[in-house]
């Protein structure tokens, strides 16, 4: 099942340039070279790594079709010996004028999966729903290191997203993020970082799957991205964490045998009852319609 004894993961806690595809491309190449040097098997970039986050009306000028864009062709080539997760604005040739906040997983020279962010924060300081469309699916796929699933930022904070990937068989969940920090009352970093760490720890333990969370840093229009990227083992152990609000290439070693150990010890997966979830949800929805 597993191709690796250990999987070396690299998280690119970078500060993308807002709306500048060229500069971000160079930043990706530079980071890929570093990750390669560090013998990484998987390199994860943050949400909208190729474009920057607070795009507003710049969205249309940075949108790409992963099947046609020349840079994705290059990314595919670069993924032959290093699996990559990148964030971008997606606009497909057959869906003109509809933009998605998407994550692509590339490995062995191919795009293995694209996830479109489902939960778009549109409240307070967030205005994603004004500028792009929402995805409608949480799917798993076969990564070189086993079944995996992708989430983007806010997706991660919705319990059903992690559950659906768990039900779909994911042993590794990768979340790419552009989470701004807020609240200075805590002892270190932003108060809001705790929320992500709490979910990372909980999901890793209760889904017995590895949780890889890559957040960005830097500032856009006064919004400070918190960093603090992390990796939790399938047994809820924090394997590595990047500093807050500081660029970093975080390296972590994941033992693929850990999932097996975790699921032997805590059989949440074996005992899960997706059919109960489904029928209960159907009943709930029917009740809603009454």
């Amino acid at each position: 099942m597993c191709y690796f004894d250990f999987m070396n993961i690299a998280l690119a806690q970078i500060a993308p340039h807002l709306g500048n595809l060229k500069k971000n491309w160079d930043l990706h190449l530079e980071t890929i070279a570093k990750a390669r040097k560090a013998k990484a098997d998987l390199l994860v970039f943050p949400e909208l790594s190729l474009t920057g986050y607070k795009l507003r009306d710049l969205v249309e000028s940075v949108a790409q079709d992963a099947d046609r864009a020349p840079r994705f062709k290059e990314l595919k080539a670069l993924s032959r010996d290093l699996a990559l997760v990148v964030g971008f604005i997606e606009e497909r040739g057959n869906e003109k004028g509809i933009f998605f906040n998407s994550a692509a997983f590339l490995a062995k020279g191919r795009i293995l999966h694209i996830h479109r962010k489902v939960f778009l924060p549109t409240f307070g300081m967030f205005e994603e729903g004004r500028f792009w469309a929402a995805g409608n699916h949480f799917g798993t796929f076969n990564a070189p290191f086993g079944p995996a699933g992708l989430m983007i930022c806010r997706d991660f904070l919705h319990l059903n997203a992690g559950y659906l990937l768990f039900a779909g068989g994911a042993e590794t969940m990768i979340t790419i993020s552009a989470a701004p920090g807020r609240g200075l009352a805590g002892e270190k970093g932003f108060g809001s970082s705790r929320m992500w760490e709490l979910m990372g720890e909980s999901l890793s333990f209760f889904t017995t799957s590895a949780q890889i969370y890559c957040n960005r840093v830097g500032m856009e229009d006064g919004m400070a991205f918190a960093g603090g990227s992390f990796v939790f083992s399938p047994r809820g152990k924090l394997l590595a964490q990047a500093p807050y609000f500081e660029e970093a290439l975080l390296l972590a070693e994941l033992d693929p045998a850990d999932v097996r150990k975790a699921r032997k010890t805590w059989p949440w997966k074996r005992d899960d009852k997706p059919e109960v979830t489904l029928t209960s949800l159907q009943r709930t929805l029917l009740r809603h319609e009454d």
Partner: protein, 270 residues
């Protein structure tokens, strides 16, 4: 580009009347330069509030631009609004005696901010809100002095291109002298906007209309026959002046931050 003049006037007079009354004002004050924008704005205000409730400030620098001052006076007489003339030369000269400069742009900006400072003072003296006169063309290309002529309480002209302000001027029958002369920011003698920009307002507004309102790409504008050099120049002017169209950024630290997630309507509780 063509607009329905009577309907636009109906909306804009209601806007002026409504915004002022929400904030408890009946009177407005504005700078009258003798140019097209301030004349149209004054005409709208006179219709919305009645001529007696509009104060036009003529704020010349010394004896320069005498012809413009005459035009401003003619507009005020035509509308029957009150005016007051204050020469800004003593204040501006006093400053530049202490901090001399050769830059006529710096001098022009200082004058624009001196006028702003007087307008705000008269806003308080007269309990009158300041009407802005920056049109859409100027706002988009950043052709204005930040915290100078761009400063105001409400801006009735902000979504009208210069070409459209001209249409309104025709509809409102603004005195012909004002309508026929070449637009100038009045930063120095002999200056005209079109010479300084290297584009006529007709060209500029057409490019803006396609780029901004129609959301067309550079390629689409080229296909329409616009020159690459001009499209790129206009696009760069727009890109480089965003700071003039927004409040300055605030670094977000807390869980509720002005401008980020402390968001209330301008007309809050009005």
């Amino acid at each position: 580009m063509k607009i329905n003049g009577p309907f636009a006037v109906r909306i804009l007079t209601e806007f002026i009347r409504g915004e002022l009354s929400k904030f408890g004002f009946r009177k407005s004050v504005l700078g009258l330069s003798g140019g097209l924008d301030s004349s149209v704005c004054a005409a709208l205000a006179a219709r919305a509030l009645g001529p007696k409730n509009v104060l036009g400030l003529l704020l010349p620098y010394g004896e320069s631009f005498d012809a413009d001052r005459d035009d401003a006076g003619a507009v005020a007489a035509w509308l029957g609004i009150r005016t007051k003339t204050i020469d800004i030369a003593p204040m501006v000269d006093a400053y530049f005696e202490r901090c001399p400069t050769q830059s006529r742009v710096q001098r022009g900006n200082k004058m624009a901010r001196e006028r702003m400072s007087i307008l705000y003072d008269f806003s308080a003296r007269e309990h009158a809100l300041i009407l802005g006169t920056s049109n859409k063309t100027e706002l988009l290309i950043g052709y204005g002095t930040i915290h100078g002529d761009m400063a105001c309480a409400i801006n009735p002209l902000g979504d009208l291109y210069k070409t459209q302000v001209r249409q309104l001027a025709d509809y409102l029958e603004v005195p012909e002298g004002v309508r026929l002369k070449r637009p100038t920011a009045g930063l120095w003698a002999g200056q005209t906007d079109e010479d300084e920009l290297g584009l006529t307002y007709a060209e500029l507004d057409e490019i803006l209309l396609h780029l901004v309102d129609e959301r067309e790409s550079r390629e689409e504008l080229l296909a329409r026959g616009f020159e690459a050099k001009k499209i790129d120049r206009v696009a760069a002017l727009i890109r480089n002046s965003e700071f003039k169209r927004q409040l300055p950024p605030i670094a977000k630290l807390s869980s509720r931050t002005v401008g980020h997630d402390f968001l209330y309507p301008y007309d809050w509780d009005k």
